[in-house]
Symmetry: C2
Subunit: 93 residues, 2 copies
C-alpha cells in the first residue's frame, strides 16, 4: 500500500480516536467542574464503559496497522491520569 | 484513495471484525454446549462486554469508511440471534 494512502487513512484513524478521547475528556471535565454537586454514582461506570469502548477502537486501529501501539497507549494514559485526578478529588470531598 | 488500496484496507478491517465476531460466537457455542452445567452467572456479562467492544470496533470501522454500516449490522445481528437462543435455552432449563 502506498505510503501516501496509508498516511491519510492512518491520519483519519488517529484523528477519530483523538476526537473520541476528547469526548471522554469533556465528560471528565464536566464532572471535575461540578465536584461540589452530589456525585452521580453512575458517572464512574459511564466513564469506565467509554474508556473500554475507546480501548477496543484503539486496539482495532493498531491491529489494522493504522495507529502505532505507542500512540494508542498515550491517548489512553492521558485520559487515565485525568480519571485518577477526578477519582482523587471525589474521594477527598 | 485508489479503489484497490481501499479494498485491501477495507477487506483487512472486515476480516478483523469477522474474526472478533467468531471469538464471541465460540464463547456462545461453549455456553450452549455446556447448558447442562451450572451456569456461570458472569457469562452473560462477559458476552455483553464483548458485544459492546465489537460494536465499538464496527462503529469505528464504519466511521473510517472501511466497512459498510449494513455489513456491521449483519455481524452484530447474527451474534445477537445466537445470544437470544442461548438466553432462551438458559431460561427454559
Amino acid at each position: 500500500m502506498s505510503i501516501k494512502v496509508m498516511t491519510s487513512q492512518a491520519e483519519k484513524a488517529y484523528t477519530l480516536l483523538q476526537s473520541d478521547a476528547e469526548k471522554i475528556r469533556k465528560l471528565i471535565e464536566v464532572q471535575l467542574e461540578n465536584l461540589t454537586m452530589p456525585q452521580c454514582p453512575l458517572y464512574e461506570e459511564v466513564l469506565d464503559t467509554r474508556m473500554f469502548g475507546l480501548s477496543r477502537e484503539i486496539d482495532f486501529a493498531v491491529r489494522l496497522g493504522l495507529v502505532e501501539e505507542e500512540q494508542g497507549k498515550q491517548i489512553l494514559s492521558e485520559l487515565e491520569r485525568r480519571l485518577a485526578d477526578l477519582h482523587d478529588l471525589t474521594v477527598q470531598r
